[in-house]
Amino acid sequence: MRELTYAEALREALRQKMAADERIFLIGEDIGVYGGAFAVTAGLFNEFGENRVIDTPISEAAITGACIGAALTGMLPVGEIQFMDFVTLSMEQLVLQAAKIRFMFGGKATVPMVLRMPGGSGTGAAAQHSESLENWFVHVPGLKVVMPSTPYDAKGLLIAAIEDENPVIFVEHKLLYRTKGYVPEEMYRVPLSQTNVVRQGRDLTVVATSIMVPRTLEAAEKLAQEGIELEVIDPRTLNPLDEKPIVESVIKTGKALVVHEAVKTGGFGGEMVSRIVESEAFDYLDAPVRRLAGLDIPIPYNRNLEYHTVPQVETIVEEARKLAHGAY
C-alpha cells in the first residue's frame, strides 16, 4: 500500500484536480517558488506556472475576496491563508460576503471556493500562530468547515471540497503535515458531511477532531489493554454535521466524550454535546457528556506550558478512563 504524508496527499489532490480542470487556480502568500510556509504547494508553481499558482502580497482580505470574485465568475479558486490565525484579517470577506452571497441573492449565485489554512499548536510559534478558530466558522451558515485528520481524508476531502459549490473552510493541522498513511493514487472523494466511525468500541464514544483523532486512537490502544474499548468518531466536516452516526454510537455506549484542541469555552465541543443531549441518545446516557479541550488561554510559548495547554494522549487516556469507570 502506497503511503504519503498528509502534506503530500494534499498536494496530490491539488495537482490532480488542477490537471483535470483549468478553472482551478491557487492563490496565497508564498505558495509559488517558496512552495508555501508548510510546503503543501511545493513544485506546483513549476508544474502549472504563475497563472495557476498565484503569489500575492500580504493581503488576506484581498486573497479571500479574489477567491469570491473568481468563484462568482466561473472559476474554482483554492486560496491559502498561511496560518489560520491570519484568517482574522479575512473575516469580513468570509462571513459577510462568501457565506451570505448565495442566500442574500435568493439562491441565484454560487461561490465555489476553498480556503485552506493550517491551524493548531505544538510548533512553539506562540499565541498568534497557533490558533484553532474553526468554531467561528461553524457559527456562520453558508460556510462549510472541514478538518481532515489523516492523509487519506486530506486528499479525498480536498477533492470533494474543490468540487463542492459552496465556500469551504479547509482546516489543516501543522503537526499532521508529516504524518504518513495510505493514500490511493487515483482521484477519489471523501464526501463532505459524512462522519467517520474510525474505531469500534462498546464502552465509550469519543468524538474527536483533527489531530485529536490520532491522539485518541493512541489513547484507545492503551485503554484497550485495560479492557476499556473506545469508539472513536471523526466528524471530518464540522458543518453541516452528519450527526446520525454519533447519536447511534452514544445509544450503543451510553457515554460520550468530545475532544478538540480549540479552547473549551464556545468551542465545537459545546455544540457536539448539545446535539447529543438533544437527541434520542439522551435516554441512553449513563453519565454526563464530557468535553476535553484546550485551556481557555492563548497558546503560550514555553514548551512545557504549550504542551499542557491542549489535550494530549495521556490526558485523553485519563479522562476517558474516569468516564468509563463511572467517575462522573
Binding site: F25, I27, N51, I54, T56, P57, S59, A61, A62, T64, G65, A66, C67, I68, G69, A70, A71, L72, T73, G74, M75, P77, E92, Q93, L96, Q97, I101, R102, F103, M104, F105, G106, G107, K108, A109, T110, P112, P141, G142, K144, D164, E165, N166, P240
Partner: protein, 338 residues
C-alpha cells in the same frame, strides 16, 4: 497621473468640452435613454420614500437622489458583457445596468418575484446572470471581490471589464488598499469608480481625508487617477470609456473619482445635523436631470413625455410587485447552501 476634469458646475451646462462629440458617439436615442434612466432612478426612489412613509415597506433604504448622473454615465459606457459590483446606495447603478424595474420593485417589497426572492431587499439587489454581481451592504465590501473578478477575466482571456463602484467612505477602508494594490500589480481590467457624495454617513470628506482629491491616491498604485464632475453623465461616461480602453489594452485599473452630492440623508434614521440647508440647496442647483436635458437640447414637451413614461413604469412596477406573492415561509431555509 491626475487629470483634473472637474470645474465650477453651477451654470447648468455640461462642463465636458467635447460634449457634442460624445453625444454624436452615443447617438440621440441612447442619450435620451440616459436621461430617462436618471428620471427612472429618481422616480423609483421617490416612490420608495412614499411606500415607506405609508408603511408598505419596512427596513431602511439608501437613496441616491442627486447622484443619478454617475450611475448612468458609468454604466452606459459598458455593456452587460462586463461586470458590475456596487454599493448599498445602488438603485441607480442597477437601473442603469438595464435591470428590470419590476423585479427591483418586487425585491424592494420583499416579494418572491424579486431579483433575490425577497431575501436581499433594497441593499442587496443582484442579477448574476446579467453579470450584476451584487450591491454590497458593507462599505468597501466589493473591493476585494473585484480583484477576483478581474483575475477571472484575465485568466479566461476575455475582453470584459469589472466596474466597481464604491463611496468616499470605502476609500478609507483597508480593503481599498489591498484591492487597488493587487489590481495594479497584476494589471487587472477593473474600473474603480469612487462616488464621492461628500459624506460617509455624517463624516465629511474634508474631515476624513487630508488630500484634495481621492483620485490622488492612484499615485500610490501607479495607476491613472481622474476626478470628474459626477453630476455630468457625459463626464463620467468619458472617463469610464477611457478606463475601459485602458483596461482592455492591458494597462490595468483606473481610479475615477466622481464628485456628486447626496441630497437625502444617509438612511431613514438620518436627521442631517452635520450639514446646512444652504449647502444642500446649492447642490440642488446642479441637479443632473435638468442639466442633462438642457445639454440634449430637448423641447420641454419631450422632457415631460420622458418623465411621464418613467413615472408610469414605476407605477406599473408597484402594481407588479404588490400583486406578487410574499416570500413563502416554507422556503425560509432555501439558498443557504448550493
Amino acid at each position: 497621473m491626475i487629470e483634473e476634469l472637474a470645474g465650477k458646475t453651477t451654470n447648468g451646462n455640461s462642463i465636458v468640452a467635447n460634449a457634442p462629440e460624445l453625444l454624436a458617439e452615443i447617438g440621440p436615442e441612447r442619450a435620451r435613454q440616459m436621461l430617462q434612466t436618471m428620471m427612472l432612478t429618481r422616480a423609483f426612489e421617490e416612490k420608495a420614500v412614499e411606500l415607506y412613509s405609508l408603511g408598505r415597506v419596512h427596513g431602511t433604504m439608501h437613496l441616491s437622489i442627486g447622484q443619478e448622473a454617475t450611475a448612468v454615465g458609468a454604466n452606459f459606457a459598458l455593456t452587460n458583457h462586463d461586470y458590475l459590483l456596487n454599493t448599498h446606495r445602488g438603485h441607480g447603478h442597477i437601473l442603469a445596468w438595464g435591470s428590470d424595474v419590476n423585479l427591483m420593485m418586487a425585491e424592494f417589497l420583499g416579494r418572491e418575484a424579486g431579483y433575490c426572492r425577497g431575501r436581499g431587499g433594497s441593499m442587496h439587489i443582484a442579477d448574476v446572470d446579467a453579470n450584476n454581481l451584487g450591491a454590497n451592504g458593507i462599505v468597501g465590501g466589493g473591493l476585494p471581490i473585484s480583484v477576483g473578478v478581474g483575475l477571472s477575466i484575465k485568466l479566461r482571456k476575455t475582453d470584459q471589464v469589472c466596474l466597481t463602484i464604491f463611496g468616499d467612505g470605502a476609500a478609507n477602508e483597508g480593503a481599498f488598499h489591498e484591492a487597488l494594490n493587487m489590481a495594479s500589480i497584476w494589471d487587472l481590467p477593473i474600473i474603480y469608480l469612487c462616488e464621492n457624495n461628500q459624506y460617509a454617513m455624517s463624516m465629511a470628506v474634508q474631515r476624513a481625508f487630508n488630500i484634495d482629491r481621492i483620485s490622488q491616491r492612484a499615485c500610490a498604485y501607479n495607476i491613472t487617477g481622474v476626478t470628474v464632475d459626477g453630476n455630468d453623465p457625459l463626464a463620467v461616461y468619458q472617463a469610464v470609456r477611457e478606463a475601459k480602453a485602458r483596461a482592455q489594452a492591458g494597462n490595468g485599473p483606473t481610479l475615477i473619482e466622481s464628485l456628486t452630492y447626496r441630497w437625502k440623508g444617509h438612511s431613514k434614521s438620518d436627521r442631517e445635523a452635520y450639514r446646512t440647508r444652504d449647502e444642500v440647496r446649492e447642490w440642488q442647483q446642479r441637479d443632473p436631470i435638468p442639466r442633462f436635458a438642457a445639454v440634449l437640447n430637448l423641447a420641454q414637451k419631450e422632457v415631460d413625455a420622458l418623465q411621464a413614461e418613467a413615472q408610469a413604469l414605476i407605477e406599473a412596477a408597484v402594481v407588479f410587485a404588490e400583486n406578487s406573492p410574499e416570500a413563502e415561509l416554507s422556503t425560509i431555509l432555501e439558498g443557504v447552501y448550493a
